[in-house]
């Protein structure tokens, strides 16, 4: 491993912040109690859990009872889609609407709903990765049980106008979910003024550990639980709560919100410099979502005549971590469903490299990538040309 590793995969996961780790420690030690117990140990754990719920709620503009802790983004997404579909199909609403660029957690849940009788409807996307408004108007009608549109796309970083779309969908009587896993800390989220019914966040994307996330569930919303058991979290999510992780999530969320503006500003500058630096040396590189509003931490770029598999391997061997399309179970990469859905040519889709910035990203990291990436690109193209 080279002396100076560069981690540009914050959209995959982030390190647990020191403050978060510290905040969690007592719950692996003296405050180990079960929050459902009535004794002192139980009360101590319960107090921490209640407080964590309030703090996460505040970060989202939500009330504490509107926060449901989950094992992460995937569970929260499944709970929102399947929980609301199963609750609403009894009322005759048969359709589920999503974008084709959702995370696999949503696509998988929508597919499951279809197996249970739902009509799947996928929104058309512009070539820049934004929902086509005509398609939204056409597909979101009075047959729709739930609409799910991700706020910030995890692969290309494009931002959907979620508050506006949510308001329209609500007028048509649909439930609205948004996967805000990549959006939290990057866009303004406020459950009081915005109209979505469900919103997913995932702790490990912003300095909390893996295995904790939350679903915002607007008060009064009926939802079938995915699991069955005890009465924890009002029966919405049975099972003894992961108190330490919930506390970690709350701490990480607060830090993220407090630093949001400065952090985003910093990342945007770094990302723009990275993009400009690469384009200066590789002028025909294609930045996906370039004409859309993008979150500040994601750059997804395809260089014609290269393939991401080889580039990522070569980058990794020089200590630079980036990512390609969605990872298959085996760890091999296949062309991204997101890029395919926005009409990117297959050869360009299989050349895509996503670099995602975050707390570990410094000016030196960017300098290094601007230096190394074009060299690897030139080499890859030489090899392609020799074929």
């Amino acid at each position: 491993m080279p002396a100076d590793p560069v981690y540009l995969d914050h959209a995959a996961t982030t390190p647990v912040r020191e403050e978060v780790f510290e905040a969690m420690k007592p719950f692996y030690g003296p405050r180990f109690g079960n929050p459902s117990s009535t004794h002192r140990w139980g009360r101590e754990a319960r107090a921490a859990l209640d407080e964590a719920r309030e703090r996460v709620g505040r970060c989202l503009g939500a009330r504490p009872d509107e926060i449901c802790f989950t094992s992460g983004g995937t569970e929260a997404d499944n709970l929102a889609i399947l929980g609301s579909w199963r609750a609403l199909k009894k009322q005759g609403r048969r359709a589920v609407v999503a974008t084709p660029i959702e995370h696999k957690a949503i696509l998988g849940a929508v597919h499951q709903a279809a197996l249970e009788g739902a009509e799947e409807r996928f929104l058309a996307m512009t070539p820049d990765g934004v929902i086509d408004r005509g398609s939204f108007d056409a597909l979101v009608d009075d047959q729709v049980a739930v609409v799910s549109t991700m706020w910030v796309n995890n692969e290309i970083g494009t931002v959907q106008p979620v508050p506006e779309l949510a308001a329209i969908a609500k007028e048509r009587g649909a439930m609205v979910h948004t996967d805000a896993v990549q959006a939290f800390g990057k866009v303004k989220i406020d459950a009081r003024s915005q109209k979505f019914d469900f919103l997913t966040i995932s702790g490990h994307k912003f300095g909390a550990p893996k295995g904790i996330g939350a679903l915002f569930i607007r008060r009064g919303t009926h939802l079938e639980p995915l699991m069955h058991g005890g009465q924890q979290d009002r029966g919405r999510r049975p099972g003894t709560e992961n108190v330490a992780a919930a506390v970690g999530l709350a701490r990480a969320a607060e830090l993220t919100i407090a630093e949001c503006e400065a952090h985003c500003e910093r990342l945007r500058k770094l990302r723009d410099r990275l993009q400009a630096g690469i384009l200066a040396k590789v002028p025909d590189a294609i930045v996906h979502g370039r004409n859309a509003e993008r979150a500040p931490h994601i750059l997804n770029i395809s260089v014609p005549g290269t393939d991401s598999e080889s580039l990522l391997m070569a980058l990794d061997l020089r200590g630079i971590a980036a990512s390609g399309g969605s990872a298959c179970q085996s760890g091999s990469t296949s062309p991204s469903h997101v890029l395919s859905a926005i009409g990117v040519r297959p050869d360009l889709a299989s050349a895509a490299v996503r670099m995602s910035l975050g707390a570990l990203t410094t000016d030196r990291c960017i300098d290094r990538v601007i230096e190394v990436f074009p060299v690897l690109v030139a080499k890859a193209r030489q090899l392609t040309a020799a074929e």
Binding site: E309, S310, M313, A314, D316, L317, C328, S332, K379
Partner: protein, 367 residues
């Protein structure tokens, strides 16, 4: 001076794992990679998508050896160069040998290119064969020798190949795996099957990929060499030259498939003598040494692990090579390989187009 980098193709088996470990001991900068070549999807429950078990074993070995491991998706190229060809060959009444094409196109061309992308000077595999002074030689373990599958690679690639277990026999390889603590894979059973054919049921692959009414899978006559119809078969692709199973009985001598005639959908059967060939014609010839002249004496092998037979090159042009065998061989099968040797040096090889039979001048098995 920095260490030379070698990209090792790791299947998760004992041979390639030991190959990687030996290269580390020898001081190379070793990078491991497993090729994802096909996907069974959900059809084969105990072999999950993408040969996941093999990938996991290879990854565990690399973790233990402390080297990076990658999974390289060569599915589309492998599908085109190897699997499609496999199906086409059976559809033409031939018996393909996909491992040769996998070595030629997938491992020592496409995989090699992945090596180029990471500046790997070398590429290594767990094959039982050796590269000595820029020439390919049979592995030390005659039972395991895999040169029969390696004749098709580009000669220039020899200069970049390392085959670390070619100097060992299988027992030594397993012992080395134990000695190096690679218990995960040290006693893994050998895979003798074609990797993309689950449970050896190749006809199922053909059924999935050929139209339902494909001639190769449709009923046709079983005939003797003089044209007498003696039975019916359920698709000539289910038969291969030399096969005895599934043939009608009632003959005085044991009968074998001696030819397949796709244009008549016929499976031709005959006795042991009719199975013999005293020469053959091969195409797609590749040389790993300077091309020998017509008249050159060579040793040949027409199937994996068969005995070597002395032969003479009697015709050689851009298209074809023709060989006369000193002694006849049974079941020379179109689609299989003929490999030419001189002592343990591999000279080259080709795909068998037709056998020549005693007393006949025309290649009667031509498809």
């Amino acid at each position: 001076m920095s260490r030379e980098r070698v990209l090792v193709a790791m299947s998760g088996g004992v041979d390639s794992s030991v190959a990687a470990a030996l290269l580390i001991e020898q001081g190379y900068d070793v990078v491991g990679a497993t090729m994802k070549l096909f996907c069974h999807g959900e059809d084969v429950p105990d072999r999950p998508c993408c040969s996941l078990d093999s990938v996991n074993d290879a990854r565990r070995v690399c973790e233990q050896l402390g080297i990076p491991h990658y999974v390289l998706n060569l599915e589309s190229r492998f599908g085109h160069d190897v699997v499609d060809n496999f199906v086409e060959e059976y559809a033409r009444g031939r018996t393909p040998i996909p491992c040769v094409r996998c070595n030629t196109f997938t491992k020592f061309r496409d995989f090699l290119k992945k090596g180029d992308a990471i500046d790997a000077r070398w590429i290594a595999t767990g094959h039982y064969a050796r590269v000595v002074d820029g020439e390919l030689r049979r592995g030390v373990d005659e039972n395991k020798d895999q040169t029969y599958f390696l004749w098709g690679i580009d000669r220039a690639v020899l200069a970049r190949m390392i085959l670390p277990v070619g100097d060992l026999d299988k027992a030594q390889t397993r012992a080395a795996a134990h000695a190096m603590g690679l218990e995960v894979i040290a006693e893994k059973p050998e895979s003798q099957e074609i990797c993309f054919v689950p449970d050896g049921d190749y006809a199922r692959i053909l059924e999935q990929r050929l139209p339902a009414d494909a001639p190769a899978l449709s009923r046709g006559p079983i005939v003797t060499s003089n044209g007498r119809i003696v039975g019916e078969h359920n698709g000539f692709a289910r038969y291969t030259v030399g096969q005895r199973r599934g043939l009608p009985g009632g003959f005085s001598a044991p009968m074998y498939v001696i030819a397949i005639r796709p244009e008549q959908r016929a499976v031709v059967i005959g006795n042991r003598d009719e199975l013999l060939g005293n020469g053959l014609v091969a195409r797609e010839v590749n040389w790993l040494v300077d091309q020998p002249p017509v008249g050159a004496r060579v040793s040949v092998r027409v199937r994996h692990r068969a005995a070597l037979t002395s032969a003479e090159i009697i015709r050689l042009d851009d298209q074809e090579i023709e060989i006369a065998l000193d002694d006849p061989i049974a079941a020379i099968t179109p689609g299989q390989s003929v490999v030419f040797y001189e002592a343990d040096r591999v000279l080259g090889g080709g795909f068998i187009e037709a056998a020549r039979q005693p007393g006949r001048n025309l290649p009667v098995l031509a498809a």
